[in-house]
């Protein structure tokens, strides 16, 4: 049953991706990206990754879509027809895709429990989480306790990106006020 639900959701994801590739209107692309994120969140729920699904639905479908729409408002929302040939990218994509698919046949089948990743660190987290951290949600205890330094690194990355965005956009506002909005003509 789970395999069937997964198959349907993943096929929908693939269809949405094809539409995103072919779509020329950037507004439609942004909205389809939101749909894609919600589908991805559904797939993640089927895969038991409930915390990841919640983050993907709020951050992937929410924040990303808002950021993309804001950028469309500040720039232009039409994509021009492709002037250059797409044969080399297609060739690169098909080559890499073929090699990777050949590699997947060596991977264990979906959902099996006797694979290496289920037998090393994860059982220890699952067995000791309540005893050592008193948190029943193991994802929380690993994120905030066992691998807390990872999360600190993540926060540093977000902080750096935030400073970068602020620096880039602050220069913009300064120029607007000094040139009395002449840049708007670029639209």
């Amino acid at each position: 049953m789970i395999v069937l639900v997964m198959t349907v959701l993943l096929t929908l994801l693939a269809v949405i991706t094809i539409v995103i590739i072919r779509q020329r209107s950037l507004f439609a692309v942004v909205i389809l990206t939101g749909v894609y994120s919600f589908l991805m969140a559904s797939v993640l729920i089927v895969l038991d990754a409930v915390d990841v699904a919640m983050t993907e639905a709020s951050v992937g479908a929410g924040v990303s879509t808002v950021l993309l729409l804001a950028t469309l408002y500040l720039t232009q929302s039409r994509e021009y027809p492709q002037p250059r040939p797409a044969i080399i990218p297609l060739f690169v994509a098909l080559g890499i895709g073929g090699a990777l698919i050949a590699g997947t046949f060596g991977l264990p089948p979906f959902g099996s429990a006797d694979t290496p990743i289920h037998n090393r660190t994860a059982p220890r987290y699952l067995a000791k989480s309540i005893e050592e951290t008193t948190v029943p949600n193991v994802v929380t205890s690993v994120l905030a306790d066992y691998r807390g330094y990872d999360t600190m690194g993540e926060t540093v990355v977000i902080f750096t990106a935030g400073i970068g965005v602020l620096l880039l956009l602050l220069g913009r506002r300064r120029r607007y006020s000094s040139e009395t909005g002449e840049e708007i003509q670029g639209e």
């Binding site: 991706t17 995103i20 942004v30 990841v52 720039t75 089948p109 429990a113 289920h118 994802v139 999360t151």
Partner: protein, 121 residues
Amino acid sequence: MNTITPLLLHYNYFITIFLMVSGLYIVIARGNMIKKLVGLSLFQSSVYLLYVSPGKILEGTAPIIDDAYSIYSNPLPHVLILTAIVVGVATLALGLALVVRIHEAYGTIEEDEIFDREKGL
């Protein structure tokens, strides 16, 4: 049925690779910078699937400890991907800010037009 089942149990890997390669294709083939960034985020989200789907156990449940369950899916990929999602949005925001600045300087977000203008200067 016996020949279809192994393919069905690898279907998530096939779709993962399809999404990854589509993202790569968009990044290389499309000249529009917003489209490129969308392709980059497609590539990133295919990595979520690549990490989370091996962590699933068919009879398992979400890794929240409860007396009613004994088999849990692997929590470690979930933690790694939580970090990856947030970092992905941070890079997307930085890329979009750069696109806004490029549009301000050149009046376009099409890569080819920017190259043409650079040659003309």
